[in-house]
């Protein structure tokens, strides 16, 4: 589904990704772990097409398509969803309006008919239950005045509605207490399916106890330096990152 080869990317003058390789097959959930500043969020932003991140070398293929040639909205319509680490506030725009506009933009790109307000409400209500979203969620301005936990739940709600082919979750666990983490994990797990892939970018192992990945990759210095099964995450939790970095350079 997603194949990244020798990816180099920089922000400003600073090179952050330095030859990253990754293969994420359809239906699998992979975790990207790594110390602060290793390039995890950069990878998420590059996949989504953020313009401030300049790809200087390498290739990314998504379902056979050259991902890097697509604009952010084209990537979204092709099925890539990024759950933001810091969800953005849009004053005056009601949450339901954004959700419906996004859903319909994607449906239309796929040649499907737009949903009307009634269909939308039916659809969204079911998804809201999954993430314990309060009723007024829809009528509030996008992320404005949302608590940290609400913002993250709102990201998951959007993901549930848009049903992406590839979901990239950028530190969705950060800033969540245990209960909120469970709600978010429940939402994510409900979306796991054989035709959907997920990439969990995270700092901590605790998320991966609730969403058990098929593979775990360690990103350091802009490259994947080790890959393994879910047990790798536990090992990292116990031993930290330094030992791998040392082994990798040895």
């Amino acid at each position: 589904m997603l194949t990244i080869e020798n990816l180099h990317a920089r922000v400003g003058e600073r090179e952050i990704l330095k030859g990253l390789n990754l293969h994420l097959p359809q239906g699998e959930v992979h975790a990207i772990m790594g110390p602060n500043g290793s390039g995890k969020s950069t990878l998420a932003q590059v996949l989504a097409g953020r313009e401030d991140y300049v790809v200087t070398a390498g290739r990314v293929s998504f379902g056979g398509q050259d991902l890097l040639a697509l604009a952010p909205e084209e990537r979204a319509r092709a099925g890539i969803f990024l759950a933001f680490q810091y969800p953005i506030e849009i004053p005056g725009v009601n949450n339901a309006y954004l959700l419906k506009a996004a859903l319909n933009a994607q449906r239309q790109a796929r040649g499907e008919t737009a949903v009307d307000a009634f269909e939308f409400m039916k659809l969204i209500k079911k998804k809201m239950e999954l993430v314990n979203a309060p009723k007024d969620f829809l009528n509030r301005s996008v992320n404005q005045g949302f608590s940290g936990g609400e913002k993250k739940r709102n990201e998951i709600l959007q993901m549930l509605l848009l049903e992406p082919r590839l979901a990239v979750l950028d530190e969705t666990d950060s800033g969540l207490d245990v209960d909120a983490l469970k709600v978010v994990a429940h939402g994510v797990n409900s979306l796991r399916s054989p035709d959907r892939s997920m990439l969990l970018v995270t700092h901590y192992e605790r998320l991966l106890e609730l969403i058990v990945p098929d593979r775990v990759h360690v990103l350091a210095g802009g490259r994947i330096i080790r890959s393994g099964g879910p047990e790798l995450a536990r090992e990292l939790d116990a031993r930290g990152y330094d030992w791998i970095a040392t082994e990798a350079t040895a």
Binding site: A76, L82, F84, P87, I90, V93
Partner: protein, 482 residues
């Protein structure tokens, strides 16, 4: 942020949609202004003596005035002798008595503008007065309104059929000596709308006037007077468009509103005069004086304006809050794109006890547009317990535009409370990226964010016009962000 001038320049600008010219025979007086021209206008309209005299007094006063220069706008001097002060479509002998007698070309013009004048048509439930250059060409639903006791007609008709009402209220809110442009208007105004809502009547439908400038080298000087008698209620909307022309055209209107005890007037404007082209050539100079007086206790006047057109906008719809507990409101969205300049805002003059006013101003600047909010909140010594809240937000799209805020506050009553909040922001790259990541095109994302910014104002518009205002805003800003 993807809005540098390079990318801006690349963008396709959608053309102004209302820029066509109607080819119709017009009766236009030669350019120039003197007492004879004023007498000619007055006699063409068959006006009573008092009005002719009023015009002449205004003209003589105007000669003593200097054009104001305090607004944050720039334009070449206007040659007032080069303007024609009266232009009307030639009508067969007498003015049309019903829509069937109106020149089909005129009806077609309004159809093209999306304002069908046939009463069966789309705007059912909204009565329309259509003003074409200097004259009103049609007013719909007159009979139905008359049954409710509402008078809604062209100003010229009102002068003939209700001279006592005109005489009683004309110039009582905006006196002919008020300011340079209002004084000019008082001398040469040609038509406009007149509304009178009798005591205790809730006007059964939305009233609206649609202004159209067609002829070249003319000015449009309309005058609107709305009187809401005790306990009455009316909601009124005006719309404006003009053809695309390379030269600038002057539009200097006056609107006077009077609300008596317990009456309320809601006045909404969707102003889309031709704004000029991308280089700033042509466009309407929109120099307008609008003022309402809450003369009675518990009365209310609410202004809502969506200003997307005009090369230059200079207007400050204001409220004089004389009656106790009266309420003034001003909700505004003003857009300045390309080389448009807007200097707009309001004045809230608190005279009565416990008067309240609310100001919500949303300024959007794009391209090389310059947008200024100018507002005055004045609490007189008699305004015990008066309150004002002002919120003034500016949104910048791109790096070459400007937003300016000039709030003036004068409080001469210690019990009065005045609050002012102001913000200036840009559409952030983060917001755009967020929306695009969800699958929205950049243009749709900008529209959505801008509409969100304007939401507090749009919700004040009548439903069907709120949708139009949103679309208009989207068109006005098309191509403003890359």
């Amino acid at each position: 942020m993807a809005t540098d001038s390079e990318q801006l320049a690349d963008l396709v600008q959608r053309k102004y949609r209302h820029g066509f010219v109607t080819d119709i025979e017009q009766d236009t007086v030669p350019p120039g202004l003197n007492e004879d021209v004023i007498r000619l206008i007055s006699s063409k309209k068959g006006e009573p003596e008092f009005l002719t005299e009023w015009r002449l007094k205004a003209y003589r006063h105007w000669l003593t005035l200097e054009e104001p220069t305090w607004a944050h706008v720039r334009y070449s001097p206007i040659d007032y002798q080069a303007i024609s002060y009266y232009s009307a479509p030639k009508a067969p002998a007498n003015a049309p008595k019903s829509l069937d007698e109106v020149d089909p070309k005129l009806l077609e013009t309004y159809d093209k503008l999306g304002i069908p004048l046939h009463e069966r048509a789309r705007l059912a439930g909204v009565a329309v007065d259509a003003v074409f250059d200097s004259v009103s060409v049609a007013t719909t639903f007159k009979d139905k309104l008359a049954a409710a006791g509402v008078i809604f007609c062209s100003f010229s008709d009102a002068v003939k059929s209700h001279p006592e009402l005109v005489r009683r209220y004309l110039g009582t809110v905006v006196p002919y000596r008020d300011n340079f442009f209002a004084t000019l208007n008082s001398a040469v105004f040609t038509d406009g709308s007149f509304v009178y809502i009798p005591k205790g009547v809730r006007c059964p439908m939305e009233l609206s006037t649609y202004f159209r400038i067609n002829a070249a080298k003319t000015g449009q000087f309309e005058r609107t007077l709305i009187v809401a008698d005790e306990g009455s209620h009316v909601s009124y909307l005006e719309g404006c468009t003009a053809p695309m022309r390379d030269e600038n055209q002057l539009h200097a209107a006056v609107v006077e509103l009077v609300a008596l005890d317990n009456a309320s007037i809601k006045y909404a404007t969707v102003q889309n005069w031709y704004p000029g082209d991308e280089q700033g050539r042509g466009g309407i100079y929109n120099f307008v004086t609008k003022r309402g007086e809450c003369r009675g206790a518990n009365s209310k006047i609410s202004w809502t304006q969506v200003e997307t057109g005009s090369a230059i906008t200079w207007k400050y719809p204001s409220c004089v809050l004389r009656g106790e507990n009266s309420v003034g409101e001003f909700y505004s969205v003003a857009v300045a794109n390309n080389y448009q300049q807007a200097d707009t805002g309001t004045k809230m003059i608190h005279i009565g006890r416990n008067t309240r006013s609310t100001i919500v101003s949303k300024g959007i600047s794009a391209g090389h547009g310059q947008n200024a909010y100018r507002g005055l909140v004045k609490m007189l010594p008699t305004a015990h317990g008066a309150r004002n809240h002002t919120q003034c937000d500016s949104l910048l799209l791109g790096a070459d535009c400007g937003a300016h805020t000039f709030p003036y506050i004068e409080s001469r009553n210690p019990s009065a409370r005045v609050e002012h909040e102001a913000t200036t922001s840009k559409i952030s790259a983060d917001q755009l990226f967020y929306c695009r990541q969800r699958g929205l095109s950049e243009e749709d994302a900008v529209n959505m964010i801008v509409n969100g910014f304007c939401r507090e104002v749009f919700k004040e518009l009548p439903m069907e016009f709120a949708v139009e205002a949103q679309n208009l805003l989207n068109v006005s800003l098309e191509g403003a962000v890359g």
